[in-house]
């Protein structure tokens, strides 16, 4: 019993101590926080002072406070967007709306609506404060928890290196863990050394120069170019020149890849636009001049879906892929059944009739949706760019569309190769009478093929809506190019369309810097006209006796 009570007492004692300890601990933290909040509030009060030196103190305090709101306040101060209301001295962010200002409260981020200019007072700063602000912001950026922000902060500082900032960077380098940020820090420090001028040791500068080999930062290139202009030391000049050449070379390579990417991107769009045409032309042997308008229908389907689901833009985009396929595909089947069917064997008349149809579709869209362009929103996961290095960045929507068009291509070839309808389509395209004799219902295959080709056009429209404005002339812009792809790649051959489209896109983009966009396009047309001199059947002609 005694032992038990002893144990109990001991437990009680521990518990009490623990509780007290805990409360002291939290109290301690509470106290600390109050002081921080105090610093923050103190700073805000000081900001309202007219005296610049007091403002300077306020800036310092804001930086120390560690408050999440500090950075935004300081940035607003630097850009001249920080005001206070004259009546109650509330700090606000303000930006011009006509003759008045739209304001938000600094502390709560609450929207305070529009306020007249004379009710507000701007918090003025001078040049000293400006320099201090930049410095402070840089420091804050350097210590930010997010590595991306730290990196941006370092890169921002490259242009405004001062001994103080050098020191900051050196300090940071010791604690930095992120490799990218580390590298950027080292680059910055190297530049600082290079800039050191005559009092810095030449061999140090040479060493540092070597570290910059292949560095793609624009600041590095500027630095080296300036060095070449001013520097008197021959060794240094020689080393710098070699490194500069190396850098330029790397940049040239990456620019090559960038052009290649843009070319492939354009090519993938051409492939998407042309592949449906290639199918209908290959199988039925008619040119559908309304193909561009079927693309346009797909793009408008996307627009309508986004209007219906304004809160789920991405979802609407995904849903509009099958929807656009259905809309354009059904339109295609309708066209085939009502017009093209009666014109088989008269390809030139088909061309005219479908052209008339394209006029009607364009005008219909103009009447329904207005002749103005409609913009389709790009969902977040498709916007922005993938920055591979300082000179090479790939726009996300183009990457997505590139992948998407390959998927469509793969799906289509699979469909034609493996499914029974694909088999029938291929049979009809190779030998119509024989296919018919074998029991293939050629008329049904024609309609389905036309629907398939048109449906793909609709999907192309969804993709295009992410790259350009959606308007009644959308289809027109792509129809001539798509025909060129089909003619170039060879009729009735999916691979031909793929290779043709990609190579036309790439050629176009590589010609553009030399000739400008319009001349590049004209040159491509001329090249194709000359090309079909040599190979009238296109890159991949259909083989066999029938080809002659």
């Amino acid at each position: 019993m005694v032992a038990f009570s002893y144990k109990l007492k001991k437990w009680i004692l521990y518990t009490v101590v623990a509780i007290i300890g805990l409360s002291f601990g939290s109290l301690d933290r509470c106290l600390a926080e109050t002081t921080q909040i105090g610093v923050f509030n103190e700073a805000l009060v000081l900001l309202l002072e007219k005296n610049f030196s007091k403002k300077s103190v306020a800036i310092e305090k804001l930086a120390e406070s560690g408050d999440a709101r500090s950075e935004r306040i300081l940035e607003a101060l630097l850009s001249g967007d920080l005001f206070y209301l004259k009546k109650n001295k509330t700090l606000v962010y303000a930006h011009r709306e006509g003759s008045a200002y739209a304001i938000r409260e600094v502390l709560t981020d609450e929207d305070l609506g529009i306020e007249k200019k004379r009710k507000l007072k701007k918090i003025a700063i001078n040049n000293n404060l400006r320099a201090q602000l930049k410095d402070v912001l840089a420091r804050m950026g350097l210590t930010h928890a997010d590595a991306g922000i730290r990196l941006a902060a370092v890169n921002k500082m490259l242009d405004t290196l001062t001994p103080e900032i050098d020191e900051l960077l050196t300090d940071r380098l010791e604690t930095e863990t992120d490799p990218d940020v580390k590298e950027a820090l080292m680059t910055a420090l190297s530049i600082a050394v290079l800039r050191g001028g005559p009092e810095t040791n030449t061999s140090d500068r040479l060493d540092v120069l070597q570290q910059l080999t292949g560095n793609l930062q624009p600041a590095v290139r500027n630095e080296l170019t300036q060095l070449m202009e001013k520097e008197t030391d021959a060794d240094l000049r020689k080393a710098a020149s070699a490194i500069l050449d190396g850098i330029e070379m790397r940049i040239a390579i990456f620019e090559f890849f960038e052009t290649l990417f843009f070319g492939l991107s354009l090519g993938s769009v051409l492939v998407l636009a042309a592949i449906g045409l290639a199918i209908t032309f290959g199988v039925i042997g008619v040119i559908n001049m309304a193909h561009g308008e079927l693309i346009m229908l797909g793009a408008y389907t996307t627009y309508v879906f986004q209007q219906m689901m304004p809160d789920a833009i991405g979802m609407a985009l995904l849903l509009s892929i099958p929807a656009a396929f259905a809309v354009s595909g059904l339109a295609g089947i309708l066209i085939e059944r009502t017009i093209i069917r009666f014109l088989y064997g008269r390809p030139l008349e088909t061309l005219l009739a479908t052209f008339g149809l394209s006029l009607i579709l364009q005008q219909a869209v103009r009447s329904i949706f207005s002749p103005l362009n409609r913009s389709v929103t790009t969902p977040d996961w498709m916007s922005g760019a993938i920055q591979l290095n300082p000179v090479l960045s790939l726009t996300t929507n183009r990457v997505v569309i590139l992948i998407f068009s390959f998927l469509v291509f793969a799906g289509l070839s699979l469909l034609l190769k493996k499914s029974s309808i694909g088999l029938q389509v291929r049979a009809v395209s190779q030998n119509r009478p024989m296919a018919r004799a074998m029991g293939v219902r050629a008329a049904r295959v024609d309609a389905l093929t036309f629907g398939l080709g048109s449906g793909i056009a609709g999907i192309a429209g969804v993709a295009l809506s992410q790259l350009t404005n959606v308007g009644p002339n959308l289809g027109q812009a792509y129809i001539v190019d798509s025909f060129m792809v089909v003619v170039f790649g060879g009729v009735g051959n999916l691979w031909g369309t793929l290779i043709g489209g990609l190579s036309l896109g790439v050629t176009n983009k590589f010609l553009e810097p030399w000739t400008g966009a319009v001349l590049a396009k004209i040159l491509i047309l001329v090249i194709i006209i000359l090309f079909i001199q040599k190979r009238p059947q296109g890159l991949f002609p259909q083989k066999g006796r029938a080809a002659g």
Partner: protein
Amino acid sequence: MNTLENIRSFWPRDQVFDFLIPDMPPDLDLTHGVILYLEGISVSFGGFKAVDDLNLYIQNGELRCIIGPNGAGKTTIMDIITGKTSPDTGSAWFGQRINLLKMNEPEIARSGIGRKFQKPTVFENHTVHDNLELAMVGNKQVWSTLTAKLNSVQQGNIEAVLETIGLKEKITARAGSLSHGQKQWLEIGMLLMQNPKLLLVDEPVAGMTQQETERTAELLTDLAGTRSVVVVEHDMEFVRSIAQEVTVLHQGRVLAEGRMDEVQNNQEVIEVYLGEENAPH
């Protein structure tokens, strides 16, 4: 002096620029009595050998029948002779001097080779008369065609040919309104207007009545002698009725060659061809 020579070398007086050479094929040279040489000809379409190392000689004035099952390469040979297809290897000479492989279709046609297609091919929207007029031998350059006028000799030629092909009453009829057999004859008539030395005739009696067939046989045998005629035909009865020499093709090669009765008794030929052909085609 030097300059003058330079100019001369650029513009030698015994030569002219290509485009100034009159558009006339060299004369047909038949000194060895052979009008057509095909030697070592091979063609393949996407891996399929349509004609395989083929040798064929046609004598001047000869009537030769070429027979063979489907896909034996009969039409391809015609295509090669008339310049529609160029062979992968081999040589093709018309007489001693005319290299067929260096010429295009119209040049070959003007040098004296006429061709009738398998499917009767006439200008359906023209009258019978105009069909013959267009085919008539003469200068076929654009300007001459534009200013051409029929003289009485040419009109006489047309009427003579109309007589030969038996379409005299149809002179103003649209070619498209003719019967199948009449179209075949009109096409043969167009060949005659060209005044060719070598006629290539692809299945002339397909779709003809018994009577028409007999008249066609008569016509073709009449033509041989003054010119050479090569007939590709499936109808064995017809071949028997006209053939002097027969060439049997199989898988792009010459399987047998000789008189009809010799060929008919050739064991190989019976195996690959005649055996099946005895059944109604």
